[in-house]
Symmetry: C2
Subunit: 463 residues, 2 copies
């Protein structure tokens, strides 16, 4: 039990990935070791790595696992961060301002007091509660260790049939990875179309493109069982209707905030199970506790309600804000607009703001339009088709959301809408946005402007 | 002389390219031929073509001239627009609301009365007033006819030495076009670095990249004479220092508003020689006259002053606004933020807002930062370096401008800043923008966010 307090304040960080270590690093930048001792607990073997990069490592685009690691444990320690790997925090004692941690290898436990605490415990993958879900050959892709296990499993397997369960970002990215590895890929999806973060009409475009890539897309399918062979290894995935033979199965059915510790300590959780913070990323009602990354809920600036979004870019921003505040500065995270971008082979998929059902759920009436355009001037080589859907609020015309499906140049166009959403622009205001134009980069009316014109017209005609 | 007025109002449009024909088309959409007669005069042979596409046609990326034509004369006529090609308007008679037009071929002149008038006379290229400027082998690239003449000239010339005069957008695009055609290209530039629409430190990056492409870049050079051989054809370009042998010369030294008619009629012109309009694109002080495209000045929303920008995307927007207003609707063009994007081979160049000297000129004090980042996550294949420069106002931190030089994925990132400028965001506000992130699309901190963080920090530390 280490109760010695020889120096200034002590910051304890729970979780050694993006949010936690960004917070630790930023706090260290602002306060030296004499002012602030920093102890960080990580139950795994790695720090500050890009979980978002795992599909590209599995698919072979990234050849070296270590390239996914932004900062190693040694680098953190060289900055006077007392990083304790393979050490899991098992209890928060808020009354006495201390955490209990267990050495994963020895099982030894000890308490560490804190003056300030950062909770960055991340998310845990949803694992289906069904027979066979833990069989050899069934893999998640949440951590670097998961990725290594999957790669080892692929190396051991002679068969070439892969089933991906789930058709969200992870699902489609893993479908691409397995196609790149030469597998026959079947994606089994509970929803009516892949990418349920899009409206189904846009998801349909993803569906068609995936089939064009040779991926078998099975929608409206509930996985009921994972079947194993005599050797105990996975041999098929069963749905309500039929069986899909599988030499390897990848689960990509989403994540939930990992807030077991926080819940046990009575910290405030939202309806999605994530910690609730204020704008400075402080846990609500707790002056000395901050939380960020995949374990928190964030304010959706468009709907006005909290959401749970597990995304490295948010985790890094949270960490930066927390570290600044812990270090005595001032920073806030105002919220998100729900931007996400992904790709499956050369198909780019992007969204920001609200889908139709999100808007309805929060009582917003809207006009929706969909347009077809191209990534470059139509006469320029490699101009590729792009579909843009836009939702604008009825009457006010305020932008509510944009979804884009296309090829090269489609994905990052969503940033235009992300900034416009943040600024509260109307579709009409967007029609005169001064966006970059030259034939290799855009038609003379950028696709987002074409959508804005149509949305603005529809808003006007519905008044 | 045609004074017959058998129908409703008559709209006369002067100029058959983007602004004029967009206005005519939009007005026609809103008002049928019984309500509104539309007469459009164009002195050339083409309508509604992409002048911006000419370098790519010359360079061979676009193989067919007709692909640059968005709408042919026949298509316009099919929509009941009385289009008169090869007919030049020679006089505006505001008092009697009529224009005098001359048939270019026959020389015959006649007056046409109007109820409403749209002036879309475009811009004229700056031609150097020096010996040899009109010699065979010296070409502008303003019109489709110019492009055809240049292509014919290239086909006739055995030599492979090209000199491009001017290093702005047209200059660098033509350098690329001529490299693609197998020429040895020398670019002679009056400024200290190419791309004077960027600050010189960013122009330096373009300079280095152009040299890396094998283009000879001559800065600080004033062309004094164009030398011709015994056959009368160009043989060299002379500057104050030396001669550059040339089998073909392309002039890309900018354009000025073509407002000869407007000036003669006493319409209001700004300090850049362009027509001054109000927000509905109506010529100031003239209820029934609109103007748009390359012949007008536009309000720069960042500096608060008028500028002249010849760019097809603005011309199309102006035409849309004018046509809507002429057709009895309501639309405005609020102004520009000065966004432009270009490329020379695989180098992408973008800018929006104010350069350092623009800010100083209008009395704005600023903090400037420059950062290096990459187009994708550093570990993802083909992540390419990108330099982002950002100017933020001293004290307020308001974004003033962004310049980007990089490879694939650099150019259109400027749209993020263009929207943020329009919304009046500060660098600090930009640091939490919810931009699209996934490893194939961006580092976890988008390069624009990295620049915003550094700019915000510099603003804070200078308080």
């Amino acid at each position: 039990m280490n109760m010695s307090r020889t120096r200034g304040e002590r910051l304890v960080v729970i979780g050694g990935d993006a949010a936690g270590m960004s917070a630790a690093s930023q706090a260290r930048r602002l306060k030296g070791p004499d002012e602030l001792e920093i102890v960080a607990f990580e139950r795994g073997n790695f720090t500050s790595y890009s979980a978002c990069g795992i599909p590209y490592w599995v698919g072979g685009d990234v050849t070296d696992r270590d390239r996914l690691i932004a900062r190693t444990p040694e680098e953190h320690r060289a900055r006077d961060i007392d990083l304790r790997l393979r050490t899991e925090v098992t209890e928060l004692d808020l009354a006495r301002q201390r955490v209990r941690a267990r050495d994963v290898d020895s099982g030894a436990e000890s308490w560490t007091p804190y003056d300030k605490l950062v909770i960055a415990t991340g998310a845990r993958p949803i694992r289906p509660d069904m027979p066979g879900a833990d069989a050899p050959g069934v893999h998640g892709v949440q951590t670097l260790d998961d990725g290594q296990e999957l790669l080892d499993s692929l190396a051991r397997t002679r068969g070439r049939r892969a089933v991906v369960v789930g058709a969200g970002y992870i699902g489609v990215e893993m479908a691409e990875a397995l196609i790149n590895r030469g597998y026959q890929v079947t994606v089994v999806n509970r929803g009516s179309e892949p990418m349920s973060t899009l409206d189904p009409d846009m998801g349909r475009l993803v569906h068609e493109a995936m089939e064009g890539l040779g991926i078998t897309m099975v929608n409206d399918a509930e996985v009921t069982k994972i079947l194993t062979g005599d050797d105990g290894r996975v041999r098929a995935v069963a749905t309500q209707d039929r069986e899909y033979p599988a030499d390897v199965v990848v689960l990509g059915i989403g994540v939930r905030p990992e807030t077991t510790l926080a819940q046990a300590a009575g910290l405030p959780l939202g309806t999605h199970g994530g910690l609730l913070t204020d704008r400075s990323m402080r846990v609500r009602g707790h002056e000395e506790i901050w939380a960020g990354g995949d374990c928190v809920e964030v304010l959706d600036l468009v709907s006005g309600q909290e959401r749970h979004i597990a995304l490295g870019t948010h985790a890094n921003k949270h960490g930066q804000v927390i570290g600044t505040n812990v270090g005595g500065g001032y920073a806030t995270f105002p919220g998100v607009v729900g931007t996400a971008v992904s790709k499956v082979c050369d198909l780019e998929i992007a969204r920001t703001g609200l889908r139709e059902k999100d808007a309805r759920r929060v009582g917003l009436r809207f006009e929706a339009v969909t347009i077809e355009s191209t990534s470059r001037a139509g006469y320029y080589p490699n101009a590729s088709p792009m579909t843009v859907k836009m939702l604008a609020e009825h009457r006010t015309g305020r932008l509510l959301g944009v979804q884009i499906v296309g090829r090269e140049g489609a994905g990052k166009r969503v940033d235009i809408a992300a900034v416009a959403l943040t600024a509260g622009m109307t579709a009409e205001q967007m029609t005169t946005l001064d966006l970059g134009y030259a034939p290799p980069f855009s038609p003379v009316w950028d696709p987002v402007l074409v959508a804005a014109r149509k949305a603005a017209a529809k808003v006007r005609s519905s008044l």
